[in-house]
């Protein structure tokens, strides 16, 4: 009972922390991580509720629901990350144009644009999904 409450209570706290972070922070990636943490908290509560004492096996129905929930969360996260990358790509040309006009007025050469070839295995893009 107390272990069950500890586990479920930790899930509730994770949910509240994730919800707070989702509402307070503006950056999309932080919001996404916050949603995932809040979702993880909900999964915790489900797993805690499935416990039926030391003698009986845990209730399989909440376990199956959590498994379904994880898959849906991973799918949604992957889609949001792809959307986020497209948003960044749409914003990049505007930012590059600003840099170009500034450097032109300062009569110095613009830095070469970053290419994907500069990415190395040690530094994956932060927005790549880890599903």
């Amino acid at each position: 009972m107390s272990a069950q409450f500890l586990y479920g209570g930790a899930g509730i706290l994770l949910f509240a922390l994730g919800l707070w972070s989702l509402l307070v922070h503006e950056a999309l990636l932080r919001k996404l991580i916050a949603i995932n943490i809040a979702g993880g908290g909900v999964f915790h509560v489900f797993i805690a509720i499935a416990y039926r004492g030391d003698t009986a096996p845990p209730d399989p129905v909440p376990h199956a629901l959590v498994l379904t929930g994880i898959v849906v969360a991973v799918s949604a996260t992957a889609l949001v990350l792809a959307l986020h990358r497209r948003l960044e790509q749409a914003e990049e040309p505007a930012a590059d144009a600003e840099v170009l006009s500034e450097s032109a007025s300062a009569s110095s050469a613009a830095p070469p644009p970053r290419t994907p070839a500069e990415r190395t295995p040690g530094t994956p893009h932060p927005e790549t999904p880890h599903g």
Binding site: G9, I49, R52, D59, I70, A82
Partner: protein, 233 residues
């Protein structure tokens, strides 16, 4: 102003958390009422599997899992519709390449084990598919632009395999008079194994393709990204 708002939200959410904690505590203190668990374990013998979680996922609530595969497929179609995949990573050095040569086959082997063990112990199609997806992510990170996935037509077939086989089995059962995804006694195990095998491959391919992050066969993969970059450096 912004900080005040964050503080106010923090206080409100702390109150919400306290309310939820109280509700959880009160619920746990109650006598447990009737639960689905008794029903689930009473009919477990007839489900064709002995792992109750697999019985719930693939037998009692099989349509749930079918829709779950559809969600996975829909997310991948959304990612593909956003444009071509970004270029891959630089080819890994010999040490990492040797490690990848070991880890990827082991992950696939462990995936097969996970699929089989799901019938009687924790495991199943989603765990096995996650391992296959991890193998694909490792391949992509080590500089394989396609992440080990086949060409575009084969990829399109593979990602619909899970939901497709699931729906075909359900429709076939419906046509032969058993009801949608109501397995005939005695054949439940093999039908579940068939569905789970197809789902494992589909989930692995879908997760890997989602990590690659773009429509296959639309240019970037054929620009020889990995090799040309190795030459550049």
């Amino acid at each position: 102003m912004k900080r005040d708002l964050a503080l106010l939200l923090g206080i409100l959410l702390a109150l919400l958390a306290a309310l939820l904690l109280w509700a959880l505590h009160a619920t746990l203190a109650l006598e447990p009422g009737p639960r689905l668990a008794e029903l689930a374990s009473a009919r477990l013998e007839q489900t064709g599997v002995s792992n109750p979680v697999t019985a719930v996922l693939l037998n009692y609530r099989a349509y749930d899992t079918l829709l779950e595969l559809a969600v996975l497929l829909a997310a991948l179609l959304g990612i593909w519709s956003l444009g071509p995949a970004p270029a891959g990573y630089q080819r890994s050095g010999p040490a990492l390449a040797a490690l990848v040569d070991w880890i990827v086959p082991l992950a696939i082997l462990a995936g097969g084990y996970m699929l089989w063990v799901g019938g009687h112990a924790p495991g199943g199609a989603f765990q096995a598919g996650a391992l296959l997806g991890a193998a694909g992510v490792i391949l992509r990170l080590s500089g394989e632009p396609s992440a080990g996935l086949p060409g575009e037509p084969a990829q399109r077939w593979l990602v619909v395999l899970g939901a497709g086989v699931f729906a075909l089995v359900g429709g076939g059962l419906l046509a032969s008079g058993f009801g949608f995804l109501t397995y005939p006694p005695g054949q439940a195990k093999w039908l579940i194994l068939l569905i789970e095998s197809a789902a494992t491959v589909a989930i692995g391919v879908t997760l890997t393709a989602a990590y690659v992050g773009g429509r296959p066969g639309s240019g970037t993969a054929h620009n020889g990204t990995g090799q040309s970059r190795t030459v550049q450096r």
